[in-house]
């Protein structure tokens, strides 16, 4: 029976093409809104997580078990004996999802230039390895990255402004050392960066790992962290699981952690966005259901005589109901086709070439992640399917009342125009 009802439904929609087009258009716009809005939301989350983990922290970090949360200077990997840093970096980088790994040492102290002094966090980096892990290494504005073994600093634009220095200037660095002394030395500002992360730009200075170890009176084998880059941040948890087993034997006392454990606020934001997707889909299609129901009621009311005729010649109320539902299904097919035509070009365009919105707003940070002023869209495959299901559900739900009423018409009275 579906063949004829499909055909009849299609022809009935064609009786008032403008009205059908507007109704289908409404559903199509609803579909497009759901898919594009969730795509944008996911783009924002991806941007937040991508930048939040990619700019500095990495998607996975390995520390000594007791290092977090206090971050004691003494809690280096391998304890006081230190570790074979190259071997550990190699073991981490051997994971199939890890594209690069680099060692780090953390410290804190003061940076002075002339009359200006600032408190700063120091990150000791391997200048050869770090650029493959942290995107911030590509954010230089002036000068260059510090060179291995050199007393050089790489500082943020805000710190440079407050110290009134730029690349090539000399600053004094003072840092408490691991042996209880106060390390201090002259450093040259090798370069200035701008990450877009306000705190980092104002208070973090990158120093070659060996230079910082020397300042803090730590031997070359002592580092606080090995940071790793993983192309898809959502692979990091699985990498953590693998590394937990693999590092346990050769590097006892180490603790790998994926970004979702050391930046849980990002996970919460992602979960918040995910719940918002449901709100969007429900709100959009609840709005649509009333519009479609109104149209279907009008369309069936105009055809009361036809339904009465169908009943008179032996069509059961159930078949009438199914025929109207079929019509709604045809409307759903038309709407989804329109919706796809409307949605996918925008989705592909914005995914591949996110429009620059810097004329409207600048960078901002969310949960520690930098959001660039672009309309980045990530494909939301399950929302494309769910949106289609919701579209059909809306069309069918909107048809239930008109269909029920059409099947309950009194044929004699209706044919008589009463």
């Amino acid at each position: 029976m579906s063949g004829p009802w499909w055909r009849i439904g299609w022809r009935n929609l064609g009786r008032n093409p403008r009205r059908s087009l507007f109704t289908a258009g409404g559903l199509a716009v609803g579909y497009a809104a759901v898919v594009v809005m969730t795509g944008l939301g996911r783009g924002m989350v991806a941007e937040m997580i991508g930048n939040g983990t990619g700019i500095l922290s990495g998607q996975l970090q390995v520390h000594a078990e007791g290092y977090l949360p206090e971050r004691s200077v003494h809690e280096t990997i391998g304890g006081r004996e230190g570790i074979d840093v190259d071997a550990l970096v190699g073991a981490v980088a051997a994971d199939p999802t890890v594209s690069a790994a680099a060692p780090r040492l953390y410290g804190g102290g003061l940076v002075s230039a002339g009359d200006h002094t600032l408190a700063a966090g120091f990150v000791g980096i391997d200048p050869a390895r770090e650029p493959a892990v942290s995107a911030i290494m590509a954010a230089g504005e002036t000068g260059r990255l510090p060179g291995a073994g050199e007393n050089e600093l790489w500082i943020g634009r805000e710190m440079a402004r407050q110290l009134d220095v730029d690349a090539g200037d000399i600053v004094v660095v003072v840092a408490p050392a691991a042996d209880g002394s106060l390390g201090n030395d002259l450093f040259t500002v090798a370069g200035v960066f701008r990450s877009g992360l306000g705190d980092v730009d104002a208070s973090v200075a990158f120093i070659p790992l060996d230079a910082l170890q020397q300042l803090m009176a730590l031997p070359p084998g002592r580092v606080h962290e090995v940071a790793a880059r993983i192309a898809d941040p959502w692979d990091a948890a699985a990498a953590e699981e693998r590394l937990l087993g693999e590092l346990a034997t050769d590097f006892p006392g180490t603790a790998p952690r994926a970004w979702n454990r050391f930046q849980p606020e990002m996970v919460e934001y992602a979960a918040l966005f995910e719940s918002m997707e449901w709100v969007i889909i429900v709100v959009v299609f609840i709005m649509a259901v009333f519009g479609v129901a109104n149209t279907m009621l009008m369309a069936t009311f105009e055809r009361r005589r036809e339904f009465a005729l169908l009943l008179a010649i032996g069509t059961t109320p159930g078949v009438i109901l199914r025929s109207v539902i079929w019509e709604a299904f045809v409307l759903g097919v038309v709407s989804l086709t329109l919706g796809a035509i409307l949605t996918f070009p925008v989705l592909v365009w914005w995914h591949n070439a996110p429009p620059d919105m810097s004329w409207l707003y600048g960078d901002f940070t969310m949960a520690g992640g930098l959001i660039r002023p672009v309309l980045r869209v990530e494909y939301p495959p399950e929302m494309m399917v769910l949106g289609a299901v919701a579209l059909f559900a809306t069309a069918l739900l909107a048809a239930v009342l008109p269909a029920y009423r059409a099947g309950r018409l009194p044929p004699a009275d209706t044919l008589a125009g009463r």
Binding site: L309, A312, I313, G314, T315, L415
Partner: protein
């Protein structure tokens, strides 16, 4: 689609009504449209219900066809009491046993002439090839060949009514009920349609009951029943064939 077999008593008349009443009430005004009608119509008859407007012809016809329920009394069609059937069972019974022809043609505008004519067979689950061949055969008989693919809007009034008659008889029902089938047609077209229905009556043995003001149709009826104010005031059997 499955259908409940219609219980038919072969000796039973086509239609039998007992103490049939139809009372309408609207805004406190009570109208007795059909009053205590006892009627027996034999199989294969060609019957006209006549009477002035408001005499209850259409109401009686609708009750016989199961389109409207009696306020009191009982109706048997083809030996089956249809008075208390549910809407769904009534619809299926109509599909199997009754054909309708209306004054306003009442074809579905989105279907072609052929699709309109075959529609009841479609509902009965008859395969497409059989439907098509039966309709084409019938269309050839009623002078509609070549017009199968036209929608009602592209057919004349007479052609539309032919399609409606084809739809009514193509399933070979026991009973065809026609309410003013010639009212909107010129006399020549009207005569042609009466001839057509008369021929189906003779050749297929289908019982025809008309509600009409058409004097030619009244003249051709083998039984003439006049209603006034909902009551049968004249019931005349004629020997002349339809």
């Amino acid at each position: 689609m499955t259908h409940e077999p219609t219980a038919v008593t072969t000796a039973a008349p086509a239609v039998r009504t007992k103490g049939l009443w139809k009372i309408f009430e609207h805004d406190g005004i009570v109208v007795e449209a059909v009053r205590d009608v006892d009627l027996t119509i034999e199989r294969g008859d060609f019957v006209v219900l006549a009477g002035p407007s408001g005499s209850g012809k259409t109401t009686l016809l609708n009750m016989i066809g199961g389109l409207s329920r009696p306020s009191r009394g009982r109706i048997e069609v083809d030996g089956r009491d249809i008075t208390d059937l549910t809407e769904s069972r009534l619809a299926r019974w109509r599909l199997d046993r009754v054909g309708f022809v209306f004054q306003a043609y009442n074809l579905l505008p989105v279907l072609t002439a052929l699709e309109n004519a075959e529609f009841t067979m479609l509902l009965r689950g008859i395969p497409p090839e059989e439907r098509r061949s039966r309709v084409e055969e019938l269309f050839a008989e009623i002078g509609m060949e070549g017009l199968e693919g036209r929608r009602p809007g592209k057919l004349s009034g007479g052609q539309q009514q032919r399609v409606a008659i084809a739809r009514a008889v193509v399933g070979e029902p026991a009973l065809v009920l026609a309410d003013e089938p010639t009212a909107n047609l010129d006399s020549k077209t009207s005569d042609g349609l009466i001839d057509l229905m008369s021929r189906f009556n003779r050749e297929l043995g289908t019982t025809f009951i008309f509600a009409t003001h058409d004097t030619e149709l009244m003249r051709r009826a083998r039984r003439f029943i006049r209603l006034v104010d909902g009551r049968v005031v004249e019931d005349e059997r004629r020997d002349a064939p339809a």
